[in-house]
């Protein structure tokens, strides 16, 4: 269970980024976080990976108090959260295979394990024949699928995505959401921040709507 309990995050200038937000997400749920630009969607996701701390309130995932984690506990926590960014955040000088291998090495997988895991990951996201391609040789949709493969490489219990289709055409966007749906069917809790309301309505998933840092609908 993911719990946001009266979470507040202020801008350094004093304005609110998130204002007293409380909601829960049950394990294995697929939730969209929606709102216009600046509503606080990205802030909410960054709080989940403990990129920074809230000014007030607590965030729990299962038994883990994310806001109470010590610095040395962050790497272990971050390996439990798959993250997908709008701009993919792939390493441009590494191939698709190497981009995935880096993450697996960070988690302590051996080269033999890595060589077994990566082909199946690439197969899952439809990039089986592109393992030697560099990010700039991939289309936007392919890059985002590679980023998803990286995010799910550990079978994380929680997957979060920040505007994952923001730079994609409609077909690619649907492919990406199809992948999120697949991962969710495996039992992973999925949180996707987006401002694409058409897509949200079509998928008929739960929606947490933010407006100027406040929760208006969950």
């Amino acid at each position: 269970m993911l719990v946001f309990d009266q979470v507040t995050k202020k801008y350094p200038n004093g304005g609110f980024n998130l204002d007293n937000i409380s909601f829960t997400v049950t394990p294995g749920e697929f939730v969209f976080v929606t709102g216009h630009s600046g509503a606080g969607k990205t802030t909410l996701l960054r709080l989940l990976i403990r990129d920074f701390l809230p000014n007030h309130g607590e965030i729990f995932f299962g038994d883990t108090n994310i806001t109470g984690l010590k610095r040395r506990q962050l790497p272990s926590w971050r390996r439990q959260v798959g993250v997908v960014f709008q701009n993919y955040c792939l390493l441009p000088l590494k191939t698709a295979y190497e981009n995935l291998a880096l993450v697996l090495r960070v988690g302590g997988k051996t080269e033999k394990e890595i060589s077994l895991i990566i082909p199946s990951l690439l197969e899952t996201v439809g990039l089986a024949n592109r393992q030697n391609a560099f990010p700039q040789e991939l289309s936007g949709g392919e890059q985002q699928r590679l980023a998803i493969a990286r995010a799910i490489s550990y079978n994380p219990p929680l997957l979060i995505a920040d505007e994952p289709a923001g730079n994609l055409d409609k077909d690619s966007a649907w492919q990406v959401f199809g992948l999120f749906d697949l991962v969710n069917q495996w039992g992973t809790t999925v949180l996707v921040a987006t401002h694409d309301e058409v897509l949200v309505k079509k998928t008929k998933k739960r929606e947490i709507r933010l407006n100027n840092g406040r929760l208006v609908d969950s």
Partner: protein, 301 residues
Amino acid sequence: MSLSSILVIFLAVFCGGLLVSLVLFLGGLIKQMESQAQLSIFFNDSANEEQIKQARNILVKSSELISVNYISKQQALELYTSQYQHEPMLVESVSAEIFPASLDIRAKNLASLNSLSDFLSAGDLSQEQLLFFSSSLGLLETDVNSLSAVKPLIEEVAYYKDLASKVNYWLKVTRWAGLGLLGLLVGVSILVVLVTIGLSVRGSKEEISIMKLVGATDHYVQGPYLCQGSLLGFFGACLSLAASGALVPLFFSWLSPLWQELSWSAPAWWLIASLALGELVLGAGLGCLGSWIAVKRYSRA
């Protein structure tokens, strides 16, 4: 940049090695000089052999003195003639009568000789002075009193303490100046490594931030940079060892007449090995420290 890091670390380590060697060398030299330093008491003609030997018998009791040798007038002449045997002109015209009888004294350290010299040149002693000399010379008060009675028989006290004092002074100067120079070079080394590794870290900032976001520990992220810095330092230290290896034999052969004079042998192999190991550790440590600061400074994500 990597080359400049190696060169600066080479300079720092080389100067460090040089400083330690110099301090060890001068320290050894002082010990050697201290053990060979001698105070000679020359007696006037009114002193007979029995009186001089009586003084010697008192001095021999001192726990601070290594040896007290009586040199008679005849022995003094023999020493003189053996010293100038190749210059007959100097030997022909001298007889034993012109040489004073003396006591040649060696001590465990310079302080004891200083004390003895001060005692012999002092006039009447107060009770406090008597106690002081008794303790510094390792003699009973009665012995010091008996020795005072011999003072009127003394012609001259020859004690060349200046050289040892000068070496001691230069040892201190070398130690402090060397430490200052070493500190400066260590600071510059860390700065250059910091800039070198810092550039590398800044170039990989995106990679580092992604690694951190996917759960890489600080050790995992910092490890390669610390290794890189340590290797730069290690190579610098190797260069320093190579330079020392080339220069030290030259230095030893240049100073060989001095070694023979002082009957001073080359340093033990374990000392050289420890010094070499110390240089390697210092070099790698400097590189590692510079890298660590750079990674801490530039990899905050």
